[in-house]
Symmetry: C2
Subunit: 248 residues, 2 copies
């Protein structure tokens, strides 16, 4: 079948097998080496790594619960197509959570944290010219640092799960996304936090997270087979207002 693309790394027979299978498959799916819509089977994957079906099956269960695989009972298992609405939904949730995190930071700015973030900004600019693949890692580090700074590591763990859906899109859009602009927005967040301006911080983080998937429609148009548009037409994103309100 098409599973030769994931044979790359050998397994450590001493370590637990299930998590290794899980990690390999997850990586293959997020990086689109396993294309959305591909059919795979427990037996096939088990043969690929010369293990039994059991650990493969358990890895499938975990991947299915993340929405990366769809297990059809007695019929087969397919790599989920990228759900347009799930991606928008993940972005919405991420925005809601990170907005609150950022507000906590601005409420009581920590100079050490600001310094750490500014260091990261420098590193990001150094990589701006080079591979965008590395930038994704730095971007992840930046947002994780924000969560840790607000003592919300648990929140980040949840965001990681949401990110898997968004990252599939980002790996499709590699090459043409505006690294410079993203860095500028990162800087705006840090500035607002440093000044303790809660409103400005919220606005900055929200507009940043809306920028991340700005080219989703183009990517969808370029590779519609990778996507699963629920029914007729592309859903419109609905977001909360960027700031508090506008009473009459």
């Amino acid at each position: 079948m098409q599973a030769e693309r994931i044979t790359s790394v050998a397994l450590d027979p001493a370590a637990p097998i299930t998590p290794q299978i899980y990690a390999q498959l997850r990586d293959a799916i997020i990086r689109n080496r396993l294309a959305p819509g591909d059919r795979i089977s427990e037996t096939e994957i088990a043969r690929t790594w010369s293990v039994s079906r059991q650990p493969v099956r358990e890895a499938f269960i975990r991947l299915a619960s993340e929405g990366l695989l769809a297990v059809l009972p007695q019929r087969g298992t397919i790599v989920s197509r990228i759900s347009y609405s799930a991606v928008l939904n993940a972005r919405f949730l991420r925005e809601a959570i990170e907005a609150d995190i950022a507000k906590i930071l601005a409420q009581d700015p920590d100079p050490d944290l600001v310094r750490e973030l500014r260091d990261q900004l420098e590193a990001q600019e150094k990589l701006a010219a080079t591979s965008p693949k590395d930038f994704i890692a730095l971007d992840e580090q930046f947002h994780r640092t924000l969560a840790d700074g607000a003592a919300k590591r648990g929140a980040w763990k949840l965001i990681e799960g949401l990110k898997s859906q968004m990252d599939r899109v980002r790996f499709l859009s590699l090459g043409h996304f505006p690294v410079g602009k993203l860095i500028e927005q990162h800087r705006a967040v840090v500035d607002a936090v440093e000044q303790g301006d809660i409103n400005a911080t919220e606005t900055a983080i929200r507009s940043h997270l809306r920028e991340v998937l700005i080219d989703l429609p183009q990517i969808h148009a370029a590779q519609p087979d990778f996507f699963d548009v629920p029914e007729g037409g592309v859903p419109e994103p609905v977001n909360a207002p960027t700031q508090g309100g506008n009473d009459p």
Copy 2:
């Protein structure tokens, strides 16, 4: 062992077994019929329902990923203690998400939705005098309706997972929590949404969600064995400001 408390319901041998085991165990844990710290084993549970160990194992995996079980390799499986910080974290996340949902609703109030919510408020008041157990179901319905009204069903699905941690606490506090006050707060949310007052809506939903676990310290003091306090002392909750900001 202590597993006789979950023998209650028989299984349908025709339907898939794994989800049935999962649901039964989840229910038993959340309602504290299986006490935090209890040791259970695949073999034991399998015997209880006269099935093989395999579906039990798969149910264990799902429960462990939700944080309700802790599987220690080659050692055993225990019912997770209620993590104090995980509960606070779940509440923080829920507040962030539901605040944005409520703001969307207030942005463009839907009269049909408001009517539906007011009907639910009536039903809640009718049950206020009777069993608080039933109120929890209505409360859940209320919040789910808010999410659906903002077309964020996906968000609700995630909140359901978070709620499992919080619900364990609520089932411990049954009997003495302020149903009337909660209903009053529900009404405040509906009022604010109806008036399209975004700030008031946000304030209402946030203070409501902070009320829900108001008696967490007492519950913890009453049954400390059920809890797992990470290290020395009870963590302080840190929340985002209830509204936008306060620039200098």
